[in-house]
């Protein structure tokens, strides 16, 4: 019997290499756990038991031959917006309910070469739009720490799967916090890499200037192992960055806190955990200094202009012609309008309409172009801050996980959950959330994360500093 509760990717690697158990044993342990626990959590939209066992057997052959890599035989869950050839990839939308991917995403090609095991595809907010996974067309995912609460989103299934011990680690995608916020709510480490560090080829686009694929796992070390396996330049993604593209400054052992921004509208328990994490870093020899980043308070407004604008253009591809749902109509325009009406859920429609508005003639200057200008100022705030500090610290999310249904009728309240996380996507810098503490609500200990952001290309800095915070 393998104890999954404390198992990490790095420990499983050692155990598999020492032949304490086989990759098939490990995969079977997770498949059993899925049968036992996922009925309640609903982290998965589909489980691939048969092929997972075959992949595990192939991993055992690699291990026996001594040709294993860091993720050989490691059972992973994959967010439903990442393509695996021949498998359904629906982005939790009705419009792609029966869509089978025509090719592998680059991250999947890399994981296949590693000999990783794919357990299944995980639930999410439809097309990654949301902060709670309630926007899935296939039902909610529950937070393993308190099943009356959301796991966060949009990678809520990927987070809940790891937290509920029904996957050892997972892949998510992060456009405005969709890896870091569910990691925070589920007590995991989650990384949004530098824009361009991980190929977006085969990731269904939401906000193309913001999207990144990244790992969720129990520890910073695990997140690092998976990041190393999936990163790298890819000719199939024109925004992919070459290795060593950004120069890395030596560690200054200084962390910046934009105090004025942090303390506004944050739950007192979250703030206390944030401050305790800073104290821990101070004890570890880091200097904590205040930084002035005057444009951060505008980040969420900028995000909810830029993101819907990109959504409205990106989702134009779902029109019932080349793939996915197609509702017949007399004329082609009717096919478009009816297919999109039948296929998209409320939040997706809301963002398409909003994005169409901010891009429309007469409003584009005041909204979209202005937002781009302010985005550049936010980017400049970060650049200036990184002249003096290694990383910027922020809470991951202003609140612990909220109740299912609590914010579904108030889009602005839902958007406010992203206030601290969207900043990294706008600036293109890497961000990590690490488990930092627990807030007690109705007798349940809800996980709270601590977020760090570093300069472009400085993921290593996040791992170094993040591991100090999580070890508490």
């Amino acid at each position: 019997m393998i104890d999954l509760t404390t198992l990490t990717v790095s420990q499983a690697r050692r155990d598999l290499d020492a032949k304490k158990y086989s990759a098939l044993d490990l995969t079977n342990a997770y498949l059993d756990a899925i049968v036992k626990r996922d009925g309640e959590i609903h982290a998965y939209l589909e489980v691939w038991a048969e092929t997972a066992r075959e992949e595990a057997k192939r991993a055992d052959v690699m291990i026996a031959a001594g040709t294993q890599k860091s993720l050989t035989g490691i059972p992973l869950a994959i967010k439903d917006n990442i393509l695996i050839e021949g498998r359904i990839a629906s982005a939790a939308s009705k419009i792609l309910e029966n869509y089978r991917a025509s090719y592998d995403a680059t991250v999947i090609t890399k994981l296949k070469a590693e000999g990783a095991v794919f357990l299944g595809r995980t639930n999410m907010d439809e097309f990654a739009m949301g902060s709670s996974t309630e926007n899935s067309a296939y039902g909610v995912t529950r937070n393993p720490a308190d099943t009356t609460r959301v796991p966060g989103g949009s990678s809520g299934g990927s987070a809940a799967a790891v937290a509920a011990q029904v996957a050892l680690a997972s892949l998510g995608s992060d456009t405005g916090g969709s890896i870091r916020q569910p990691a925070s709510h589920c007590g995991l480490a989650g990384l949004k890499p530098t824009y361009g560090a991980v190929s977006r080829f085969g990731l269904m686009p939401m906000g193309s200037s913001l999207d990144q694929i990244g790992p969720l796992a129990k520890t910073v070390e695990d997140v690092k192992i998976i990041f190393e396996a999936i990163k790298g330049h890819d000719a199939n993604d024109s925004t992919s960055i070459p290795d060593g593209f950004y120069p890395i400054a030596p560690l200054k052992k200084r962390i910046g806190v934009p105090r004025a921004f942090v303390e506004k509208g944050v739950d007192p328990d979250v703030l206390e955990i944030f401050n305790a994490s800073l104290s821990r870093l101070k004890a570890a020899g880091y200097e904590i200094i205040g930084v002035d980043m005057p444009n951060l308070p505008y980040a969420l407004s900028v995000y909810y202009i830029v993101c819907p604008a990109e959504v409205s253009t990106n989702l134009a591809r779902y029109d019932g012609i080349r793939y996915g749902l197609s509702i017949p109509g007399g004329e082609i325009k009717e096919v478009y309008t009816k297919t999109r009406a039948a296929g998209f859920g409320p939040e997706v429609r809301r963002r398409i309409i909003l994005g169409t508005f901010v891009l429309s003639s007469g409003y584009a200057d005041a909204y979209y172009r202005k937002a781009r200008a302010v985005r550049e100022m936010i980017r400049a705030d970060f650049e200036k801050a990184f002249d003096t500090v290694d990383a910027i610290a922020l809470p991951t999310s202003p609140n612990p996980a909220f109740k299912i249904g609590e914010k579904t009728n108030d889009p602005v309240a839902m958007y406010l959950e992203d206030i601290f996380s969207v900043t990294a996507n706008l600036a293109g810098v890497p961000g990590i959330s690490v488990p930092a503490g627990r807030a007690i609500r109705e007798g349940k200990a809800l996980p709270v994360g601590f977020q760090l952001m570093a300069a472009h290309g400085a993921e290593e800095t996040l791992f170094t500093i993040g591991s100090v915070v999580e070890s508490a």
């Binding site: 308070p297 900028v302 007399g330 004329e331 325009k333 909003l354 200057d365 005041a366 781009r372 602005v412």
Partner: protein
């Protein structure tokens, strides 16, 4: 600027090729101004519209050479299409006789 009239939502839905029910139009008429009221905060920032700055990393297209064998992916992609006739994606009528419906 933050108030969008009923006609606006319908016009936006038309631009987005999205059919909306009356009920949803009514809901969006309430929600859109609320969201726009929130994001309008950026109007307070005195920011110049971005000039043509060249970013550190630009979209990089591969060299137009060594194309893959013609037809290599055709069947894979065609097999995803909801309607096909032979090696073509089939669509319904694009041009209408009734010009009044065109905007």
């Amino acid at each position: 600027m933050s108030t969008t009239s009923k006609a606006d939502i319908r016009a936006l839905a038309h631009l987005a090729r999205l059919e909306l029910s009356d009920e949803e139009v009514a809901r969006l008429e309430g929600e859109l101004p609320a969201i726009l009221g929130f994001v309008e905060k950026i109007q307070k920032v005195s920011a110049e519209l971005p000039k043509a700055v060249s970013p550190k990393h630009r979209n990089v297209m591969r060299d137009d050479e060594n194309p893959h064998e013609s037809g290599m992916y055709s069947e894979t992609l065609l097999s995803a299409a909801p309607n096909r006739i032979g090696n073509q994606v089939a669509v319904t009528q694009v041009v209408s006789r009734d010009t009044s419906s065109h905007t």
